[in-house]
Amino acid sequence: MQKNALHILLADDDEDDRLFFKDAFEEVRVQTKVTFVHDGLQLMEHLMQPDVKLPDILFLDLNMPKKTGKECLIEIKRTEHLKNIIIAIYSTSSSEEDIEDTFIEGANIYIKKPSDFNTLKKIINEVVTLNWHYHTSGLNRDNFLLRLK
């Protein structure tokens, strides 16, 4: 692995989704290292390890067993050394409520899981090449939900 590879963490309980995600990242031009966790508890355990390398971007599914994505989001944002991790919500749901709640709790972007592999690749490309500093400073309810051009 390259030293400057982008560190990506995906928390998702669905095996197929993890597979799509892994395949999509392999086709993305940017150098990345992708780690997977299967549920909310595992995610928090992973992040709380003393010598863990924190991810550059955390892709967080909302609908997970044991601990939901929302709970994880709240916990991360309230933990001093984790709160600066860029969090991309990655969910099947596109309900206003979920979008609103995660925006308020401080997630950086909301991605609705696409139903097309090519779209997924485009999304991942978009997200990993995004200027986070620029995006976060101009973040509002309208550009929080990722829409591909």
Partner: protein, 591 residues
């Protein structure tokens, strides 16, 4: 409160009249007394007069007897003379008694007595010198003449005494006359005044009685009304005179407690006996609270009737202090059992509704997550079948994959629309003052692609600013315009005209909520293919489609969403059309 003048003015009138009458009667008494006095006085004078006359006649009798005896020497003539001495003495004693209060007369009487005594001595001397044995003509003449002078003196004295009495009587009469001379006029005028006062009082009383009768009638009516309304309204009143410690229940209070009116005499703790044991402490406390707080805020409690039936009561009360300073507690009890039971039922229904709402929400969740997930995977997996993979498949397999793709896409649209429909109802409705022109532009930009493709022309008049749920109105515009574009006539450029007009709800009594006065009527007319007017109601029903899905793909949800959105805004939507003549969708939104 009616004002009765009699109470105070009558009292004054009566006091004055009583005083006048007392005064008059005292004057009459005095008058009577004086009359008595004067008649006594007259009698007194008269008696003195008679006694003096008697005295005189007795002396005259003696004189006559003496003369007879001297002339005839017949001793028979001496009898009156002998008796006269006694008569004189009797009269004298009477006179002495009669004049006891008058020293002048006493003095005169003494002098008279001396004269009479001298006269009788002169009689004796005459007898002596007329006696033939002792006859002396000169001495007899002397004594006879002296007797004559004495007689004159006696008469003079008697006249003097009579005069004194007469004068005294006259003087007394004069004083008396002076005293009472004014009183007849005065007393008659006083009597008239008293009469006037009494007549005035009588008039006042009769006038007040007339008014009293009127008020009494009104009072009777209002009491009856009150009693009737208590029965109909299921409430009752009670009064508690704190000073007399007397409690009165209205008739209906007895009825509400399961008794006949006045079947028992209420006391301080009677009511508490009816209060259900659960609420006894609270009610007792609130009754005590009235006395300190002067009023009773609404208390709610249960009542146990004699037949063990439980009724629900609501009570309120107030402390009243009347003009005399006595304190009276007034209270109203309402029997709210029916409302209470209805409330319980309503609450239960509400719970059921909430439950079914929750079920609906969880159904939404299922639709948005659990149904979407496998569908999304089907679509993703199909998208992973690359062109290279397809090349090795048989034609029929390729065909099947395409059909799976189409079906999955259609299912996605269905789920999305269904979600959109349910969300128009369940998501929170935040009304914001919005410029509908802006929302319209947003909707138009969403539809840019199809507008350009169909070369559609949209004429829009100025839309108002309204209190709306912005994203829903935007959705409404998208659906209505999208609908017109979708069902346009082949080979004709779609033309959509949007017009706005302010209307009054009373002009559309069947369509619009009459509690809202003004509406905006926004109509969307197109030159599309139109539809059979018999379907103008059904097209708004969920999943109702007028065309086969191969000709016009769709879910039959779009117009149902429109209807729902308009209803969320307390508005109304109608559709008018004829086949081949275009359609008009009219939206009414409250101002």
């Amino acid at each position: 409160m009616p004002k009765f003048n009699s109470s105070n003015s009558l009292r004054v009138i009566f006091v004055i009249a009583v005083f006048i009458l007392l005064f008059l009667s005292s004057i009459a008494y005095k008058h009577n007394q004086d009359l008595n006095e004067s008649s006594k006085l007259v009698m007194h004078t008269y008696e003195i007069n008679i006694q003096l006359e008697r005295l005189m006649s007795a002396i005259k009798d003696a004189e006559t007897g003496q003369r007879g005896y001297i002339i005839t020497r017949n001793s028979r003539f001496l009898t009156p003379y002998i008796y006269s001495r006694d008569k004189v003495n009797t009269s004298f004693i009477s006179l002495k008694k009669l004049t006891a209060d008058n020293p002048t007369q006493q003095q005169n009487l003494k002098k008279l007595f001396k004269l009479i005594t001298q006269r009788f001595i002169s009689f004796e001397n005459c007898f002596i010198y007329s006696n033939p044995q002792t006859y002396d003509k000169r001495k007899l003449d002397n004594h006879m003449f002296g007797g004559r002078i004495l007689m004159d003196n006696i008469r003079f004295k008697v006249d003097e005494m009579n005069d004194i009495e007469k004068k005294y009587l006259q003087r007394r009469q004069k004083i008396y006359d002076q005293e009472i001379s004014l009183s007849p006029v005065f007393s008659i005028s006083l009597f008239l005044a008293a009469l006037t006062f009494i007549i005035l009082a009588y008039r006042q009383i009769s006038r007040d009685i007339k008014r009293l009768i009127v008020y009494n009638k009104r009072l009777l009516i209002s009491t009856r009304l009150m009693a009737e309304s208590e029965i109909i309204g299921k409430f009752s009143t009670w009064q508690w005179d704190l000073d007399l410690d007397k409690i009165d229940y209205s008739d209906n209070q007895f009825r509400l407690l399961g008794f006949k009116p006045n079947e028992f005499v209420p006391e301080k703790d009677t009511f508490l006996k009816f209060v259900h044991h659960d609420d006894k402490d609270a009610v007792e406390k609130s009754i005590e609270g009235i006395i300190t707080d002067q009023k009773l805020p609404f208390v709610y409690y249960k009542i146990a009737l004699p037949n063990n039936e439980v009724r629900y009561f609501k009570s309120t009360g107030k402390l009243l202090t009347d003009q005399q300073g006595s304190k009276i507690l007034l209270g109203i009890n309402f029997d709210i059992t029916d409302e209470h039971l209805m409330n319980i039922e309503l609450r239960e229904r509400n719970k059921e509704l909430e439950k079914s709402n929750q079920e609906l929400a969880s159904f939404n969740h299922v639709a948005s997550h659990d149904l979407q997930e496998p569908l999304r995977k089907i679509q993703t997996f199909i998208s992973r079948v690359s062109d290279a993979d397809k090349a090795v498949l048989s034609d029929s397999a390729k065909d099947y994959i395409t059909k799976i793709e189409v079906s999955a896409k259609r299912m996605r649209v269905l789920i999305d629309d269904l979600l959109l429909f349910s969300r128009t109802n369940t998501t929170k409705k935040e009304f914001l003052k919005s410029d509908l022109n802006e929302l319209f532009e947003n909707a138009k930009s969403e539809l840019t692609e199809i507008i350009d493709e169909k070369k559609a022309i949209i004429h829009k008049s100025k839309l108002p600013k309204l209190e709306v749920i912005p994203y829903q109105i935007e959705q409404l515009f998208i659906n209505l315009i999208g609908n017109s574009l979708k069902y346009s006539q082949p080979d004709v450029h779609p033309e959509i005209t949007i017009e706005t007009e302010k209307v009054l709800s009373k002009d559309y009594p069947d369509l619009l909520d009459q509690n809202i006065k003004k509406f905006y009527k926004i109509s969307f007319s197109d030159n599309g293919m139109g539809f059979d007017p018999q379907f103008k109601e059904t097209i708004f029903i969920l999943f109702q489609r007028l065309h086969s899905k191969t000709d016009y793909p769709g879910t039959g949800i779009g117009l149902a969403i429109c209807k729902k959105i308009v209803e969320n805004h307390k508005g109304h939507i109608t559709a008018e059309s004829n086949i081949g003549k275009g359609s008009v969708f009219t939206v009414f939104l409250p101002e």
